[in-house]
């Protein structure tokens, strides 16, 4: 496990370093030299990790993800949330996230989740929109009903 992970990690950094150094050739003078040196050093460090992993004979156990299904579910719901924040509005999408994410992770006490979602969204609204007056993505639902929101 550990060996395979380090092989991938080293390879990723070698590619990233070479790409950074190659990209830096397009910049003139000192603007290009500094990122090029960084790219080369990054590729070198990646190569050390890679070579060490190739030479290592111990395939020690190192778990990358403890609960893959839950992790992927959390990331997927997070991605959908970020995609919906602007079109749906901040509070609508956040309220939905408060219900959807615990559900996706297996939480089935719906009334409890609903109560916490309502209280938390209200607190966030009071702190950020009322006290701090921060502009957040407008609620689509208000536009739908023709309110000034």
């Amino acid at each position: 496990m550990e060996r395979r992970q380090d092989l991938s990690l080293g390879a990723i950094f070698v590619v990233l370093g070479i790409a950074a150094a190659w990209g830096a050739t397009a910049y003139s003078g000192a603007s290009g030299i500094y990122p090029m040196v960084l790219g080369i050093l990054l590729a070198l460090c990646g190569a050390i990790v890679l070579i060490r992993a190739i030479r290592s004979e111990i395939a020690a156990e190192r778990v990358l993800i403890d609960a893959p299904v839950k992790l992927y579910a959390a990331i997927a719901v997070g991605v959908i949330y970020v995609a919906l924040v602007v079109p749906l509005g901040f509070y609508t999408s956040s309220f939905l996230l408060m219900l959807a994410l615990p559900f996706a992770l297996g939480f089935r006490r719906y009334a409890y989740a609903l109560a916490v979602a309502a209280i938390f969204t209200a607190i966030v609204y009071i702190v950020f929109s009322v006290f701090l007056e921060r502009p957040l993505p407008r609620e689509a639902i208000l536009t739908l009903f023709g309110s000034g929101g």
Binding site: A30, S31, L42, I48, V82, M98, L101, L105, L132, R134
Partner: protein, 502 residues
């Protein structure tokens, strides 16, 4: 002295005082909730401080830092679950005390010890910091360059378990720091014709992603559906025996000294300070066998040690621009947000701010005495009845609101998400995250300094190593990088000679 009187005038106004009280309470609450940690809380807080007065913003950072270091003791004592990594050593004697029905007493000791450690550390910061800053007045661009490189190399090498991966992380941060318009030539680098990249990769957005998302994903993986029962959180008042607190004075003195020393060293954190203090207290005690079975001195040593690390870690951060740990790196980010360049000039250019922050570290340590203790613990402990799974979306929402309000751009939310997922996997494969942020903070300073130094010397690179201070810093940097290689080679040869004997 004028330095501190002026700073105190700035701190003792309504804004900073309210910020310190509120943030210390919030800090205790964050420390008390396992899964939340001070680094995450400060990362979440920073985007919201953009429009605030810098002393209010730094007061909040100080409050959260000191408060959470004490707050971590609450679940350590009541449930043997460390609230923060720095409070692991508190469980050794704290939980056995709770089992004996002395939870309330253990919490009081933790409260007093945290406050004492924090106060000692803040005094060390206030005395050593300005002295160190005076030395740095002799520095030119070549020295600034080496300071930045030395800081990154030492944190990169020492912070994780693998020096090569630490250096790799620092280089990654430095490279990310080059994205955007080059300040000296005006050339756009790695922007791929995207206008949103011209200003560079936003530091705070990457920081929130890297530090707040991985713990959230771990909470999601754990998915705690129940929270804690009320019965586990009941406390019973137990008075101190006569002279019991007086007997702890040597423990407090030792732990404060150890915590301060560990804090100054780059790379070491509160958990190491707590372990070292605990072990020293155990070895110095007449009855070391009683440690681990509910000896109050064990709680005192661990809690005093981890709080004594706090302000001391700000000494190299404020005086040299080299953060000793992640929270110090976050404080430097807070300074950057307010347009201040961390490093030696800081004491000259913004004395009220630097002095004020030191005062705030001291005052928030004192506040623990009033806001901690058994009574408030009863209140904070109640939050542990909330199922952990509900914290996952709550923190994600706070992250998004914080990141969105910086520039009002949806693209920042995607950057945060990508940085967070990358941070989760990098941590799992032993690549430390602190050097990445440090590279992003110190990178521009390192690049500009080296290019200025070369301009002054008309392209003569030897100028970078021929001045006495820069030569010393260059040698120190090389030694820091070579030290782990030397250690690895020695370990290998001793293993081989061991095998040869067999």
């Amino acid at each position: 002295m004028d330095f501190y009187i002026n700073a105190l005038k700035g701190v003792l106004t309504f804004g900073p005082i309210a910020a310190m009280i509120g943030a210390t309470i919030l800090g205790v609450f964050i420390g008390a909730l396992p899964g939340l940690n001070p680094v995450m809380a400060i990362a979440l807080l920073l985007p919201l401080t953009y429009s605030m007065d810098p002393l209010v913003a730094l007061g909040m950072v100080a409050g959260i830092y000191n408060g959470s270091m004490y707050g971590g003791a609450i679940p350590s004592i009541l449930l043997r679950i460390p609230g923060t990594p720095a409070s692991i050593a508190t469980t050794f004697d704290g939980f056995p005390m709770a089992e004996k029905g002395e939870a309330s007493k253990a919490l009081k000791i933790a409260c007093y010890s945290s406050a004492i450690g924090g106060i000692a550390s803040a005094i060390a910061l206030m005395t050593v910091g300005p002295l160190l800053a005076k030395v740095t007045l002799l520095f030119g661009p070549a020295e600034y360059f080496w300071i930045a490189v030395f800081g990154m190399a030492s944190v990169g090498v020492m912070v994780g378990s693998d020096p090569v991966k630490g250096l790799m992380a620092a280089l990654l941060g430095l490279w990310v720091g080059t994205i955007g318009l080059d300040n000296l030539s005006g050339q756009a680098r790695y922007t791929f014709d995207q206008t949103w990249l011209l200003g560079g990769m936003p530091l705070i957005v990457v920081l929130v992603g890297l530090y707040a998302l991985p713990p959230v994903l771990q909470l999601a993986e754990k998915s705690d559906f129940k929270g804690l029962s009320a019965a586990a959180l009941k406390l019973q008042a137990v008075p101190f025996k006569p002279g019991e607190l007086r007997e702890m004075i040597p423990t407090w003195l030792r732990a404060s000294g150890i915590g301060i020393s560990v804090g100054i060293l780059p790379g070491a954190g509160g958990n190491i300070a707590a372990f070292l203090s605990y072990n020293t207290a155990k070895n110095a005690d007449k009855d070391p066998g009683s440690f681990g079975k509910g000896n109050p001195k064990g709680v005192a040593a661990a809690e005093c040690g981890n709080n004594a690390d706090n302000a001391a870690s700000m000494i190299p951060a404020l005086a040299l621009g080299i953060p000793g740990n992640v929270v110090a790196a976050l404080v430097l980010s807070a300074l950057v947000i307010h347009g201040l360049q961390p490093g030696p000039q800081l004491f000259q250019l913004s004395p009220v701010l630097v002095g004020g922050f030191m005062m705030e570290m001291l005052l928030t340590s004192l506040l623990i005495l009033f806001l901690g203790g058994a009574l408030s613990t009863r209140v904070f402990a109640q939050f542990q009845r909330l199922p952990g799974v509900l914290l996952v979306p709550s923190i994600l929402i706070l992250m998004c609101v914080g990141v969105y309000v910086i520039n009002g751009r949806a693209v920042d939310l995607w950057i945060m998400l990508c940085a967070g997922v990358a941070g989760y996997f990098l941590e799992k494969v032993n690549v430390p995250l602190a050097p990445i942020i440090l590279g992003m903070i110190l990178g521009p300073m390192a690049e500009q300094s080296v290019r200025r130094a070369l301009l002054i010397s008309r392209g003569d690179a030897t100028e970078l190593v021929t001045r006495p201070i820069s030569a010393v810093l260059a040698i120190a940097t090389v030694l820091v990088i070579l030290w782990p290689i030397y250690k690895a080679m020695r370990r290998k040869s001793s293993l081989e000679s061991g095998a040869g004997l067999v």
